[in-house]
Symmetry: C2
Amino acid sequence: MTLILTLLGKGGTGCTTLAIAAAKAYAEQGKAVLLLSQDSSPALGLMLGCELGVEPQQLSSNLWVQSLKTTHLLEKSWEQLKEMEQQYLRSPFFRSVYGQELGVLPGMDRALALNYLRELSQSQTYDVILYDGLASQDTLRMLAMPDILGWYTRRFRQVFGDSDLGKTLLPFVQPVASAVLAVNWSDETLSEPTQKANNLLEQGRDAVADPSQVLAYLVTTAEPIAQATAHYLWGAAQQVGLTVGGVLVNQGHDAAALGDRFAPLPLSVIPAVSGEGLVNHWSTLQQALPEFCADPSVPRSLTVDEALNQIKLFLPGFDKKQVKLTQYGPEITIEAGDQRRNIFLPPSLAGQAVTGAKFADSHLILSFA
Amino acid sequence: MTLILTLLGKGGTGCTTLAIAAAKAYAEQGKAVLLLSQDSSPALGLMLGCELGVEPQQLSSNLWVQSLKTTHLLEKSWEQLKEMEQQYLRSPFFRSVYGQELGVLPGMDRALALNYLRELSQSQTYDVILYDGLASQDTLRMLAMPDILGWYTRRFRQVFGDSDLGKTLLPFVQPVASAVLAVNWSDETLSEPTQKANNLLEQGRDAVADPSQVLAYLVTTAEPIAQATAHYLWGAAQQVGLTVGGVLVNQGHDAAALGDRFAPLPLSVIPAVSGEGLVNHWSTLQQALPEFCADPSVPRSLTVDEALNQIKLFLPGFDKKQVKLTQYGPEITIEAGDQRRNIFLPPSLAGQAVTGAKFADSHLILSFA
């Protein structure tokens, strides 16, 4: 099993430095580690004293490093798409467009990075992957993708099926499909890729919710704005179903400056070092790092209490007026931290309307009749 | 005319602080200024000492501030989409889905921010908008969007028209269109929205290339990694056709530490301040800021020399082996800085193959027969 670990915090609080230190620490414990950076600039190479290529590059015993190039990942994915269309389309279309021509649009960076993380995780080449994002809010968007894409698929398939538009188009499906597809529309060969795509989204969502597969730690300094940002990211991570294991208090002397703001998360104080390239500074940082794991005393992002007919959402850092709730049909939408989470009600609550909502003890508690 | 100004630099070098200072400086000059932040965390509110809503909020005379909420922008855009489908579709489909349900996928943040910037710019409510991105590489992706979306539209329309797939689908277009559309397929009413979308992309691309509409400044400290990142972003900005006006050397004493790395960009040294919330510190920063403008001595990102049959691309910070060139049909693709730029050849060079490419003086020079 590969663990994907990511550090969330305000820019400039040392996320990249601590990700390097964590990668080194894991490698020294004998784990195979990949440090994967979303940053395409030369910054990481300079911090590590080496030039980075588009493939993982060995830095020391057990430690590999890679700087993601979206243009490169896009070319590889384009080739895969071409192979798929060759399999299913009567006359391939995408083959006339070359992967080397394709420009990068917003969103491609994280979508392709997530797909790459999935491939790496599946191949089990590494025990640990340290993913160093460019901005923590975008890392959360990336990890929310399987859940949210799953929602869009579910919702729009249902709406389309029920709609006049769907019914109007239905007579055309068969003739268009048989003109275009190399296989039978009703054939099993077609349900396979659809099912596969749905499975990938489900597996992705389950992986993000499983702290032995994906785990985040917060990074902050004692500085109030850095603390507030880390606190906000803690709540925002819950909206993605991501487990936050603890807080790294960087450049700190003691954890007292943070009070009990992050309770019950364990805090680790990381001393200030300067001249980060020096070997003894890395080892100072490494020694101050905790053993990264999920703390069982931290509430889960979603708990269903079937006995009380309640759903409890852990939303640290938010208050009642920062959280919006809407219910359409079988799903409930929770909005907080500029992210929406759609919750499919468990069978015991399906079809029931929310009858009460209160905010207590960092939890949104929804009651059903 | 509204000027959109953005600061590009490594995280933690002070881009947000200097964006605030620049916004204050413009406001004191009597310009109507909006400070627009991509950050949805409470950080900016804390720096400014106020709580930010989803609409621009007045901070002081001439100065408004807004923190972008993608969930809110998504709802507004969804309503616009519904209005459009009502106009063109026989039986509306999207109306059954509520904007409040929609989750945020990677890419939506910047796509919606760009659309909002376009609306603001068109309404001419502000003289200056300070756009403070979450990560500079994502700001560049956002600004590249009109150009790259334009390319995708152009390329795929042509490929589709020429393809067997396009020809196979052609007989179905008329019956499907008349079943679904409220207007005639061949009607002028339909060419209007298509033309409008193309115009928007062209206007967007032209705005990004026009330094009186969109302008960037680099931010760095004297620290080598911050310098290298700023240098990289300078080159990457050229790939987007964005004008970089100068460099802000933050927390500096003099500009000597940077040498001539950024020549011919003008450098402005910004003194180190601490306790950023204090009024006199803001004024120290404001006084150190330059008058933001494009320096005429800085080369343009693309120059066509019709006499010599040459195209010159300004690519500071890259060397020959970091730049890739491909040519398919009438377009040339330049890859550098994890971004691809597709260049449509001017009429005088159309249909000609690149016969020579050399790298000299931070320029890629392409020769044609």
